[in-house]
Structure formats: C-alpha cells, structure tokens
C-alpha cells in the first residue's frame, strides 16, 4: 500500500491540488492529512472542502494548532499568523468549523502513528527541529513509525533499540528504506508554506510493501497564491515569504 502524507496545507488550494495530483500519479492508495489546513493562506474554505471530500472517501485527517485556533483564540501566535487567523475565522461557516472541531489529535493506524507536531501531549505544540527533539518524540511513542509536520522542514530520524539516533535531511524523489530494526520519525515538510528556501510544495509517500519513504517536492503556481494573499488583504509579508519559501 502507498500512503501519501500531507501536512501544513495552510489554506493554499493550488499547492494542495498539485500534491494530490502528484500523489495520484505515484499510485497513492490512501491520503493522510497531518493538520494545519488553515492559517496564513487565502483559501481556507476551498481547502477544507477538499479535505472533507477526501475524508468522506476514507482519508485520515488529524488536527493541527491552526485548526484548533479557529475555535480557541488563546493559542499563542506570531502577529501575522494572528491577523491571518482572525481573517480565517470570518471566512469559515458552521460546517467547516464543525469539521475542524471534530478532528482527532492523533490517529493510530496499526504500527503507524499520525500526529501534527509530535507524539507528546500538548500544549505546548512541540517543534521537532533537532536530533534531541526527535529523540524525545520517539521515546514518547511506541509506534514503529511516527509521521508529523508542524516545522515545515522535511526530515527523517531513526532510533535503534539501544537508543542510537540517526538524523537525515531527505533528498527529493529518492526513496529511503526504513529497516524494521529501527523506529522512524518522518517530518513530511509543508504542502502550503515551505520554509527551507525551496518554494515548491512538499509531501511524503510511504510504500508499506517495500518499507520505503520518499519525500517529494512539487512545483505549483506560487505567484498565484501569493497574489491571492494580497487580494484577500492578508499581511503582505505572508505573500513575500511564500515566494521565497522562507
């Protein structure tokens, strides 16, 4: 089975469409959404409609911090994120809000665990940026494979039974074997707002038959989404960072 893992879509419809299309062409049998469907971006309604349509067809979706912030204005955020969130709240109807509120924080799928930020309980929402964050996250779970987003930076970490940790920045389109002797934590990168200097959308594809994970970078019309951010009256800095992928 091939499982496409998509995180941090952030109301970017074009990026989501491009990744869905790419995953289809790669033969994905199942879609898993790892949270943060809204915030920052200009198309929260369209994105939620797409996620709802996919979950109706069997996709799995968990909640992210931005999704929780729609109903809960005590989530701490940067000023631009806060402005975008206030705008987002005004865009969403009751059905969309109900959908976001219904999402679980974690989903266990056999030996796989899907979460937005990390397996640790929240708050706070933990960023897995360094090896030691990955170690704590893997130690907080017993799953063979953990998948998350939240940092917007693709990464792969593996740990042995004796606590030896290996960390790696994946190369696009190169399948990496995940041998069963280790437990693995995959940070899939962001669909809708990349932050590693490459503006292309990021997602990952797990092949459970061969036990390999492939990170992909998918180009989409970044300029169009940036223009839509400006048209919506959202902070111009959010359009600028999208163009640069920062």
């Amino acid at each position: 089975m091939r499982i496409a893992l998509l995180a941090d879509i952030h109301a970017n419809r074009l990026a989501l469409e491009a990744c869905q299309e790419h995953a289809r062409s790669q033969g994905a049998d199942r879609l898993v959404f790892l949270g943060d469907y809204v915030g920052y971006g200009p198309q929260p309604r369209e994105v939620i409609e797409r996620i709802m349509a996919e979950t109706a067809r069997g996709a799995i979706a968990v909640a992210g911090n931005h999704d929780q912030a729609v109903a809960n204005d005590r989530e701490a955020m940067t000023p631009d994120a806060e402005t975008a969130m206030a705008w987002t709240r005004g865009q969403l109807g009751p059905e969309a809000r109900e959908f976001l509120a219904s999402l679980p924080l974690r989903f266990e799928d056999g030996t796989r665990l899907y979460v937005h930020a990390s397996p640790q309980t929240y708050p706070p929402w933990i960023y897995i940026r360094e090896s030691r964050d990955a170690r704590r996250a893997l130690e907080a779970s017993r799953a063979q494979m953990v998948f998350c987003g939240h940092t917007h930076l693709p990464a792969l970490h593996g740990i042995t039974a004796t606590g030896q940790l290996v960390s790696f920045t994946p190369v696009s389109s190169v399948p990496v074997p995940l041998p069963p002797q280790r437990r693995w934590l995959t940070v899939v990168g962001a669909v809708g707002q990349s932050r590693d200097g490459n503006p292309a959308a990021a997602y990952a594809l797990l092949d459970t038959t061969t036990s390999t994970i492939t990170h992909f970078r998918v180009p989409y019309d970044v300029q169009a989404t940036a223009a839509a951010i400006l048209d919506a009256g959202l902070p111009p800095a959010l359009a600028a960072r999208l163009r640069k992928g920062l």
Binding site: L156, G158, T160, T162, Q164, L165, V166, S167, F168, V171, V174, V176, P177, P179, Q181
Partner: protein
C-alpha cells in the same frame, strides 16, 4: 553463539545455499544458485551473536540500502534481500575472479603493473562516486577482478551514500575503516569526501610498489592520527626504479588535505594512463621525508586547519569535469579553431577544477599504416603536439590542468569516442566545419561524436550570416499568452 538460520542446502526464497566461503567477525558468505540465473551467486548475512560488534549490524543495514541502488561492471549485481527467522541476508552476483589480497605475497610488484592496476581501480572508484557513494574501505580484499579485467568494489558496510541517512557516521564516535588505508579526514570522522578513496588507493599503490605500508598498521587512534602530520618515506627511496611520475601520482593521492589530491578519481585514472602528461612537481623528486621542524609544526597545528571539515568536496555534477576539446589543425579549419578556443575560454572560469584534454586525430591511411615520419623526416606526431600547444597557449592554463593527445586512427570520430569512453570524459567540445560536399558524402565527425558520445557534447560553429538569415522571422507564438496573462 546463536544458531545460524542459513546453512548449505537451505532454500532462501528459491535461492539454494551452497558451501560457506567466508566467515568473518562482521559477516559470513555462502555460495548460492538459482535455477533461472545463469551465473553464480553469493549470500551475505551479518554475524549476530553476543558480543558482536554493533557495527556489523549497522554496516549490514547500510549495505542493504546501498547495494540495490548500484549498477554497472564495477559493483556486484544486487539480486535479492530478505530475512529468514531473525537473520537478514543479501543475495548478489558472485564475482568469478580473485581479490587482490593474494597478491600481497608477491610484493613488491613491477611498477608498470601497479600503475595499470591503479588506473583500473581509479576507474572503478569513479564509477562508484558518480553513483553518489564513497566506499571508505578500499583495500586489497575488497577489490575483485573480473575475468574481463574490470575491478569490482565489494563490501559497502562502511560506505556513505550522499542521498541516504548515514547510519554508520551517526552512531559511532570512533572512525571506522581499515587502519593502513584510512584517509586523514576519515580518521577525524569526516565520511562524505570521495577523495578519501583516492587516499586509500594511494596507500595501496605505495604498498604494491614498495612492499611497505606507508603508514604502517597502527592499532590505536593516536597511531592513526600520525598520518595527519607525518609524511611517508618517498617510494623512490625504497624502490629506486619507481619512475618520478608514479611517485608524483602516489604522493599526490596521499596528500593530507583532500583538496591537494586529484579533484576526482577520473582525473587520477587519466594521469595513470598518460604518464607523459603528468606534471612533475617537487613530489616527484623527493627522496626523504619532510624535515623535523615541518613535522613538528604540523604536529601541533589545529587538525581542523590541516584537514578542514566544512569544505564541500568536488562533485561529478559539479566543478571538476574532464573536458575534451577536439581540434582540427588543418589550415581550412583555422577560423573554427579560433571560435573553439574562445568557447573554451568562456567555459573555464565557471569550472575552476576542470581538466582540459586537447585532442587531435592524425588520420592514418587504411593501407599504409606506418607513415609517422613524413618526407622531410619531421615527425608528424611531434609537430601536431607543438601545434596543439600553440592553439592552447592563449587559454593560459597552468600545466597539470591541460594535456595534449595526438590520436592515430583511420577514423577520427571513433578515435575521439574511444578516448572519451576510456577516460570518462564529461564534456566534449568540437568544431563543425561549414557544409561541404565531402561532409555531406561522408557524414561529419562532429555529428557522429555528438550522436554517440556518452556525455555532453558542445558543437561549435563559426557563425557567418547567410542570405537565408534575412528572411522574415517566424511569428512568436508565446507572445499572445503574455498579453493575456
């Protein structure tokens, strides 16, 4: 010791296990066969028992990741992998040839044989490096020779793959490798520089020529580090008949700083195959080790200064290609030769590590093969070399970055292609003559080279405006999309 799940007669997913051919601390090897495969196979499984070096298991995991991605004549062909019980295994092609290990009893070998062998090993390393892998354990027992002569690199347990997690590097604090052959940067824990394999090959060539290991066989980390400041006894001191050019090459491979070695293994192979083109430096004449004061200064210098860790190594898709320029020296080709030179001059600043090989083909008649000396007694071959140097003079390239080759063949395009294939040339620059009756009848050399070369080919033409250039331009179809968008 845990009972192994693999023994002669075991059937592993259709593969029949034969006799055990090797039993080591890290792994065991068995002969194997499959009814559908016409060649012999090898099963490899890590040694799993109390007290096994954990590196054995991690090394096996690395090999499981790397081997299936490798292709070509210089690696064993990957066949399958799996697990029986708790015992993981790999199945690969069994190379029907010996390793270089038995040769150790014959040392020292004739220097010409070492140079030829070194060139074949460098070619194998170049092939591996182009596949994103640094071997990091190049030594006689890991080098096998096919009956057809190609050197095959085996055992990827210590290797580093550019595009995969480095389990070995992350998990072990001490450097892993084989003490006599390990490069200084590898001793310091750097595992991603392809030039580390050049150092190991330098050790091997030194050992094979002199019968002595350049840095001994140290058993402790302190002994391993000695090679950072202590240079080896020059090979010619031990083996006076070793030619200066070979000492030059060996000592360049053994440079402490990776940047002072050859940019890529392809450059090294090129040097070993063209001794007359090796630029001789002080290395070639050296007959004693560096003076005590120099060694003392290096001994107490910061190792990170001697072997900087941060600098990105030369990559094959990067800035150190081998550029072959095919130059037609005939008078009617003079305009194109000038255009060709200015093209090369424009390319070089972007490729600081590039090595330029200037080629000219001396066309032999198909019948009279022995006309290297013309009527005036002037050696045409030498004359051509002089003209090639003259052509290249304005490029201002220092010696060592440029070489000159006059190939003799009745068929220029196949001579160029042969050179390109044998020397792993990355880019051919060749001129195309203006259309002529002869070209339309025989087909041009440049178009044949462009069609058949396994690398990038730039065909250079001296642009002249022709009558047809003044016809109306075709309409630019892309324009309308701009006005709408």
């Amino acid at each position: 010791m845990q009972q192994l799940m693999i023994s002669p007669g075991t059937l592993l997913d259709g593969y029949l296990v034969g006799e055990r051919v090797h039993r080591g601390g890290m792994a065991s090897l068995w002969a194997a066969s499959h009814p559908d495969l016409p060649f012999p196979l090898l099963v490899k499984a890590p040694t799993l028992s109390e007290g096994t070096d954990p590196a054995a298991i991690v090394g096996f995991e690395m090999e499981q990741m790397i081997l299936p991605r490798l292709t070509g004549r210089h690696v064993p062909k990957f066949i399958a992998q799996g697990t029986t019980g708790l015992q993981p295994y790999l199945i690969m092609e069994r190379i029907p040839g010996p390793s270089l290990l038995p040769r150790l009893t014959e040392l020292p070998l004739p220097w010409a044989e070492v140079a030829a062998l070194g060139a074949r090993i460098a070619t194998a390393l170049d092939d591996l490096h182009r596949q994103h892998v640094v071997h990091l354990d190049v030594k006689p027992s890991n080098l096998l020779v096919r009956p057809t002569g190609e050197v095959v690199l085996v055992d990827y347990g210590l290797s580093h793959h550019d595009e995969l997690p480095d389990l070995m590097g992350e998990e072990f604090r001490l450097p892993y490798g084989t003490a006599p052959y390990m490069a200084p940067e590898q001793v310091l824990g750097l595992r991603r520089d392809p030039r580390s394999d050049q150092f190991a090959l330098g050790v091997l060539m030194y050992f094979f020529v002199t019968g002595v290991r350049p840095f001994g066989d140290p058993q402790r980390l302190s002994g391993l580090k000695r090679r950072i400041w202590r240079d080896p006894v020059p090979p010619r001191k031990l083996r006076p008949d070793c030619p200066p050019w070979l000492q030059e090459i060996i000592l360049r491979c053994l440079e402490v700083h990776p940047a002072w070695r050859y940019p890529t293994a392809a450059h090294l192979a090129l040097a070993l195959r063209h001794p007359d083109q090796v630029m001789l430096t002080a290395r070639s004449e050296k007959l004693r080790q560096d003076p005590f004061t120099t060694v003392l200064r290096r001994r107490f210098a910061d190792h990170q200064l001697v072997v900087p860790k941060g600098k990105a190594p030369a990559r094959h898709d990067g800035d150190a290609p081998i550029l072959a320029v095919a130059i037609d020296l005939s008078p009617e080709a003079a305009p194109i030769a000038g255009t060709l030179r200015s093209m090369v001059a424009h390319m070089l600043p972007a490729l600081p590590g590039a090595r330029v090989a200037c080629l000219n083909v001396f066309k032999l008649g198909r019948i009279t093969l022995d006309q290297t000396v013309d009527g005036e007694g002037r050696n045409i071959h030498l004359q051509r070399l002089v003209e090639l140097r003259h052509w290249a003079e304005p490029l201002g390239l220092e010696e060592g970055r440029i070489s000159f080759h006059v190939l003799q063949s009745p068929d220029p395009s196949s001579a160029i292609l042969q050179y390109v294939n044998a020397n792993h040339v990355d880019h051919v620059v060749i001129g195309a003559r203006a259309s002529s009756l002869r070209r339309s009848l025989l087909g041009s050399v440049s178009s044949q080279v462009a069609a058949q070369a396994p690398c990038t080919v730039t065909v250079v033409r001296a642009r002249r405006l022709r009558h047809s250039d003044f016809k109306d331009e075709p309409e630019d179809k892309t324009e309308s999309t701009w006005t709408v968008g």
